[in-house]
């Protein structure tokens, strides 16, 4: 093996390994923090299940709803709950990629509610005339 190839191999190995100071810092973190972190992760899992149950309740209202307005209200609620679900997943996977989706989902929910209201009013006036 040439010395240049050995140097490249050493460089790659050093880049792949985690740096020792970071490991030392994580050892020095206090014990309460780990407990809080674990509790937060567990409560986020519980929250994802809770929001899933809430979305299922609203979907049942969308299916059952005797009137069109009930379906509109339930779909508005579902939009906000999907935004909350995206927030929880953002915390869970520790990446900020999904955080912008929260704003977009809530804007889409608002616009769909407006469209629903217009549709209900328009439908009634068409039936009337």
């Amino acid at each position: 093996m040439t010395p240049a190839a050995a140097a490249i191999a050493r460089f790659v190995a050093a880049a792949a390994e985690p740096s020792p100071p970071a490991a030392a810092e994580s050892v020095a973190a206090p014990a309460g923090d780990a407990f809080i972190e674990t509790t937060l992760l567990y409560s986020i899992d519980v929250g994802i299940f809770t929001i899933a149950i809430a979305i299922l309740l609203c979907l049942a209202r969308i299916i059952k709803g005797p009137d069109l307005v009930d379906r509109g209200v339930a779909s508005d609620t579902v939009a906000v709950q999907v935004a909350a679900l995206v927030l929880l997943i953002t915390i869970r996977v520790e990446s900020l990629i999904a955080f912008d989706a929260v704003l977009i989902v809530s804007i889409l929910g608002f616009v769909s509610t407006l469209a629903f209201a217009q549709f209900i009013g328009r439908r009634r006036s068409v039936h009337q005339s």
Binding site: A29, P30, A31, G32, D33, I36, E37, T39, L40, S43, I44, V46, G47, T50, I51, I53, A54, I55, L57, C58, A60, R61, P66, D67, L68, V69, D70, G72, V73, A74, D76, T77, V80, Q81, A83, A84, L87, L88, T90, I91, L96, F99, D100, V102, L103, S106, I107, F110, T113, L114, F116, A117, Q118, I120, G121, R123, R124
Partner: protein
């Protein structure tokens, strides 16, 4: 008390003499016991509290959306649930991540939600009332229906597209017809006719 103040003053003088390197040396005392929580841990604890509060509101609101008897009370449950629930979730996310741009986006989402949810619910409720949606049998008062059936109300939803009669054509505004004297009216007339 006095001693503590005096030692604080001494420390400040020492820092002023020796510069910021001495400040670090004075702040970190190796003999002191290690703290149980750092700031990040405390912020995570607050995030747990906010998260559980938001989850409570969201679950309760969707149970209300499922169980309430008519669409108006369902709107009541839905708007409360979404506003408070997403407030708790956003607070939890901002407290856990703790970066300035995330906090800015969180405030943006919060302001948008607080503006958009009442507006959307109001429009939906107005369309529902306009379309004659089913009302719960125990509804106490429906003032919008009273106003719509009141001939003294100048502008209601039915009259907006109406062509005014010939003698009113060209007049400024749509002058309502005089209110008929009706002693059987359930609510007293608050204002004389024509001033609304």
């Amino acid at each position: 008390m006095i001693d503590a103040l005096f030692s604080l003053l001494e420390t400040a003088e020492l820092i002023a003499e020796l510069g910021p390197a001495a400040a670090d040396a004075a702040a970190v005392d190796p003999s002191a016991p290690a703290p149980l929580f750092t700031d990040a841990g405390l912020r995570d604890a607050l995030a747990i509290v906010a998260l559980l509060g938001g989850l409570f509101f969201m679950l309760v609101g969707s149970i209300g959306v499922y169980r309430f008897p008519d669409c108006y009370s369902r709107m009541h449950a839905a708007s409360k649930c979404t506003t408070l629930g997403i407030t708790g979730m956003l607070l939890a996310a901002v407290l856990h991540i703790w970066q300035l741009d995330v906090a800015g986006k969180g405030v943006l989402v919060l302001v948008f939600t607080f503006v958009a949810t009442p507006v959307g619910t109001h429009l939906l409720a107005k369309a529902a009332h306009h379309g004659g949606a089913h009302q719960y049998a125990g509804t106490r008062s429906d003032e919008l229906a009273q106003d719509k059936s009141d001939p003294g109300m100048a502008i209601n939803d039915e009259q907006i597209g109406e062509v005014p009669p010939d003698e009113l054509r060209g007049a400024v505004g749509h002058i309502p017809p005089p209110r008929p004297a009706n002693p059987a009216e359930t609510h007293p007339p608050a204002q004389p006719a024509g001033t609304r």
